[in-house]
Amino acid sequence: MNRRQLLTGPYLFWSVSFILIPLVLIVYYGLTSAEGGFTLENLAKITTPENLKALGLSLLLAFICTVICLLLAYPLAMILSSSGVSRSSFIVLIFILPMWMNFLLRTLAWQTLLEKNGVINMLLSFLHLPELDIINTPYAIVLGMVYDFLPFMVLPIYNVLVKLDRDMVNAARDLGANGVQTFLQIILPQSIPGVISGITMVFVPAMTSFVISDLLGGGKILLIGNVIEQTFKQGNNWNLGSGLSLVLMIFVIASMGIVNKYDKDEAGGTF
C-alpha cells in the first residue's frame, strides 16, 4: 500500500510550493503592520460595522445561492443520470458549454437582459406583464451567482448518481418501498459525497466573489469580497487585505467543517 501513497508526491510538492508557502506569506502579511511589527489590528478590523455587515450579507447570499443551486441541480442531475448513457455525456456538456463564453461577458449579458429598458422588460411589457425590477438589488446578485455556479452543483451530483447501483434501487422497489422511500433511503444517502462536493464548489466562490456584485448589484451592495478587493487594489494595503482574507478563510473553513460533519466517510477507504 505504501507504494501507492507515493503517487501523491507530485501533488505534495506542488501544494507545498504554490499553496502552502504563499499562504504563509499571507499569514505573515495579515499579522504584521506596514512597518513590520506583529499586530492583531488587521484581524480586528473585521468587527467594524461595515465589514461585519458585508461579511453577514456575503454569508447570507452565499447560503441562499447554495440552497437554490442544490434545489435546482438535484432533480436536474437525476433527470440527466436516468437518461441513456450515450446521450448523457452530450447533455452534461450542454451544461458546461455556457462556461466557455467568458464569465465577464456572460455577467455583462445579464445586465443587458435585466436592465430597466433591458430585453426581459421589453418582452414583459410587450406581453402586458408587470416589469421585473431586480437589477442593482441583491436578487440580481443571487441570480447571477446561481447562473454562474449552477454547473458546479450539477456535475458532482450527476457524477455520483450516474454510478449509483441500479440494482439497489430496483431491489428497494421490489421489496415494496415507494418512490419517496427509495429516494430517501437509497438514492439520497449514496449521493451525499456528490452533494458535499457541489456545496463546496458553489458556496466558496459565492462567498468570496466580488465581480458579480459589482456588475449586477450596481456597486450598491458591498460584500466581503468587494471589501478585500478594494483594500488590495484601491487602498494598496496588503497587510489589512491579508488580515481580512484570513478572517474570511476561517469563516469559509468553519462553514465547510459543518457541512463535512455530515459527510460520512467510510473509514479505511473504499478499495
Binding site: P10, L104, I228, N236
Partner: protein, 624 residues
C-alpha cells in the same frame, strides 16, 4: 406525464443557462459598437476579428494555457486521489483540506500570494507563471471530481480481482480505473473551463506582452467591449457545439453480428463525422495558433514596453511607430491607476513607458519610482499647450518627469428627454425627483470629489470634519442612486437607463455621438480636472526608445489620430488645429474655456494614511 414535466424542467434550465449566450451572439451581429443599442445587422466584426492580431493572440494563449494546465492538473490530481485513498483517514483529511485552500481563498489573495512567490523566487512573470498558477487552482477541481468517484468504487470487485491473481496495478487499471474515468474526464473538463474563464489570477501573474481573453476583456470593459470579442466568443461557442453534435449524433456503429451488415457508405459517414471532421478542426486551430504565434514573436528585436490604459490608443499608431522606427512595441493595458501601481512598485516587469494620472504620478515621484525624462529627445514637446504644462506642475513641480497625453474634467452627463431643467450644479444629484435615475462614479476619490465640491471644500481635503460631512452627504444620496459604476455609465446613458450620470468628459463626446439627447456640463461649484501623462519608470530597460515613443505621440498628426480614436481631449494644440470637423474643434466639452475651468482642481496624492481614511469612509457609504 412525468416525462413531460421532466422535459419542461430541462427546458426551463436551458433557457436560464442560454439566455445570456444568445444575447452575446446577437450582440456579435450588432452594427452599433455599444451593447445598449441595436444598430442593425452586420458581419463586419467577424471580418475584422481575423485581422486583429491582439485578440487572436490572446485567444490562442488562452487555449494553450487552458489545455496544458488542465492536462497537468488532471495527471497530478488523479494520482494524488489514488494515493490518498491508500492513506489513513486523518492524513487524507489533512491532504484534502490543503487541496481546498485555493478554492477557499478569495481569488485575489491566491493571486497576490502567487505573485509574491514568483517575485521571491525570481521567476520572471510571463507564460510560465500563468501556467503554474492555473495548474495550482485547477488541481482542487480535479480532486473534487475524482474523489467521490473513487469512494464509490466497490472494494469487493478490486479484491476479487486480486484474489483471481491480478497484480494490484493490473487490477487497478482493469477494475478501478474504468469506474473513475468519468470523474477524471469531468475533472479535466472543469479544469479546462476554469482556466478558460479565470481573470483575477491571470491578471496578477502575467507578464508584459502576454494576454488571455479575460485580461483583454477586462481592460476593455472601461471603454466598452470590442464587438470582435463577441464575434470570437460566438465562433468558439458554435464550433464547440458543432463538434459535440457531430461526435454524439452521428450514427453509432452497431455491435456484434449487425456490424457486418453495415454498408460501406455508412461506415465512411461515421469515419468522416466522428474522426475526420473533428481532426480537421483541430488542425485548423493549431495552424491558426502557429500563424498568429509567429506574428507575435518579438524576441531579440529592439523593443519598447508600453503600459497604457485600456483602449487608450489607436492601434494604427503603434503600427506606424514600428514602421518608422523599426522599434517593436510590446503593448500592455491596465484598467485603473491602482491596479497599475503595484506592478510598477514591485518591479516585476520593467516597463519602459507608462501613462498614469496626475495624483499617481505625484506618488510615484515621491516614492522615487520614475526617472527624469531627457527632453532633448522630445523636440515635439513644443506642440503641447503651455497651460497643460503649467497644470502639470501640481503633481510634477518642474515638469521633469511627465509629458501630458490626455486630459479632461469630471462632470454631469444628463438626458435632455428625462431632465427638463437647465443643470449647472452638483445639487441635482441630491434631487429626489431623480431617485433611481442617478449614476455615481464607483471610485473613492471621484465620488468624494463630487460631495466635497458641492459642499464648497477642496477635493484634496484632508480635514476630517469636511470629509465626515462629505461622507454623510454621500450616505444621504445613496437611496437615490441607481448604481455606482465606473465603466458602464456610458452604455447605461446611451440606453436611456438613467437620467443623470457622473462621467469623464472624454466619454461624454463618445456617448453624445451615439445618443444626441445627452448633454455634458461642468458644475459651477467646480470639479476635478485630470491629466494622464507619459512617464518613464526608474527600471526601464529602453529609456531612449521610450523617449522616441513619447516624442512620436506628440507629433500633431499622431496626436490627432489618437484624439479621433479615443475622443479624450488632447493637450496637443497643434493637433487641435488639424481637426477638420469645426463643431468638434470648437466643442466646449472637448476643449472647455479657461473660464469654465477656473474652479477645477487636479487630484493630489494625500498619503497612505489619508487614502485609508477615504477608503474607510467610502466603505461606510457603500455598506449603508
Amino acid at each position: 406525464m412525468k416525462k413531460a414535466a421532466r422535459k419542461i424542467y430541462l427546458g426551463l434550465i436551458l433557457v436560464l443557462l442560454y439566455a445570456p449566450i444568445v444575447t452575446l451572439i446577437v450582440l456579435s451581429f450588432n452594427q452599433s459598437k455599444t451593447r445598449a443599442r441595436w444598430g442593425g445587422f452586420t458581419l463586419q466584426w467577424y471580418r475584422s476579428l481575423f485581422g486583429n492580431e491582439q485578440i487572436m493572440n490572446a485567444f490562442y494563449t488562452t487555449l494553450i494555457i487552458a489545455l496544458l494546465s488542465a492536462f497537468i492538473a488532471t495527471v497530478i490530481g488523479t494520482l494524488a486521489c489514488i494515493g490518498m485513498q491508500a492513506m489513513n483517514r486523518r492524513v487524507r483529511g489533512l491532504f484534502l483540506s490543503v487541496a481546498n485552500i485555493p478554492m477557499v481563498n478569495p481569488e485575489i489573495v491566491t493571486a497576490v500570494s502567487l505573485m509574491l512567490i514568483f517575485i521571491a523566487l525570481r521567476i520572471g512573470l510571463g507564460f510560465e507563471t500563468i501556467l503554474i498558477s492555473h495548474i495550482t487552482f485547477n488541481i482542487p477541481y480535479v480532486i473534487l471530481s475524482v474523489m467521490p468517484k473513487l469512494r464509490q468504487t466497490q472494494r469487493s470487485t478490486y479484491e476479487a480481482a486480486l484474489d483471481l491473481g491480478a497484480s494490484p496495478v493490473y487490477a487497478f487499471w482493469r477494475v478501478v480505473f474504468p469506474d473513475i474515468v468519468p470523474g477524471v474526464l469531468s475533472g479535466f473538463l472543469l479544469a479546462f473551463t476554469m482556466s478558460l474563464d479565470d481573470f483575477v489570477i491571470t491578471h496578477f501573474t502575467k507578464g508584459p506582452g502576454i494576454d488571455t481573453l479575460s485580461t483583454k476583456i477586462y481592460a476593455e470593459v472601461r471603454k466598452g467591449i470590442k464587438p470582435e470579442i463577441y464575434a470570437l466568443s460566438t465562433l468558439l461557442f458554435v464550433s464547440v457545439l458543432l463538434l459535440l453534435i457531430l461526435v454524439n449524433y452521428s450514427p453509432e456503429p452497431k455491435e456484434g453480428a449487425v456490424k457486418q451488415t453495415v454498408t460501406k457508405a455508412a461506415r465512411i459517414k461515421v469515419l468522416v463525422l466522428r474522426r475526420i471532421l473533428p481532426a480537421a478542426m483541430a488542425v485548423l486551430l493549431t495552424a491558426g495558433g502557429i500563424y498568429y504565434g509567429s506574428k507575435g514573436n518579438f524576441t531579440g528585436a529592439d523593443t519598447v514596453i508600453v503600459y497604457n490604459w485600456g483602449e487608450y490608443m489607436d492601434p494604427a499608431v503603434l503600427d506606424l511607430f514600428e514602421e518608422e522606427t523599426g522599434i517593436q512595441v510590446v503593448y500592455e493595458e491596465f484598467e485603473t491607476n491602482e491596479s497599475m501601481y503595484p506592478k510598477i512598485k514591485a518591479g516585476a516587469i520593467a516597463y519602459d513607458v507608462v501613462c498614469p494620472s496626475d495624483y499617481m504620478i505625484q506618488r510615484m515621484i515621491q516614492e522615487d519610482l520614475l526617472s527624469e525624462i531627457n527632453f532633448d529627445n522630445i523636440p515635439n514637446l513644443k506642440n503641447i499647450g503651455e497651460t497643460y504644462l503649467e497644470k502639470s506642475q501640481a503633481f510634477d513641480e518642474q515638469n521633469r518627469y511627465s509629458v501630458p497625453y490626455c486630459w479632461g474634467t469630471v462632470g454631469i452627463l444628463y438626458n435632455k428627454k428625462l431632465v427638463d431643467e437647465p443643470i449647472d450644479s452638483w445639487s441635482v444629484l441630491w434631487d429626489e425627483k431623480y431617485a433611481d435615475s442617478i449614476l455615481m462614479q464607483d471610485s473613492v476619490r471621484d465620488a468624494f470629489a463630487v460631495a466635497l465640491c458641492y459642499l464648497g471644500y477642496s477635493l484634496n481635503s484632508t480635514d476630517l470634519d469636511e470629509l465626515t460631512a462629505a461622507r454623510d452627504l454621500l450616505m444621504e444620496q445613496k437611496p437615490l442612486v441607481q448604481a455606482y459604476v465606473v465603466d458602464q455609465v456610458r452604455d447605461k446613458m446611451i440606453g436611456n437607463e438613467a437620467a443623470l450620470g457622473v462621467i469623464y468628459s472624454g466619454e461624454a463626446i463618445y456617448t453624445q455621438s451615439s445618443n444626441p439627447d445627452l448633454e455634458y456640463v461642468i458644475p459651477k461649484e467646480g470639479t476635478n480636472i485630470w491629466i494622464d501623462s507619459w512617464v518613464i519608470p526608474k527600471n526601464a530597460q529602453h529609456k531612449e526608445n521610450a523617449e522616441k515613443f513619447i516624442n512620436f505621440l506628440c507629433r500633431p498628426d499622431i496626436a490627432l489620430m489618437n484624439f479621433e480614436y479615443i475622443t479624450y481631449s488632447t493637450p496637443n494644440t497643434a493637433a487641435r488645429e488639424l481637426i477638420e470637423d469645426e463643431a468638434l474643434k470648437n466643442s466646449l466639452v472637448a476643449f472647455p474655456t479657461d473660464e469654465m475651468l477656473k474652479n477645477c482642481t487636479a487630484f493630489q496624492y494625500l498619503g497612505d494614511e489619508m487614502d485609508a481614511v477615504y477608503l474607510d469612509f467610502w466603505n461606510q457609504v457603500k455598506s449603508r
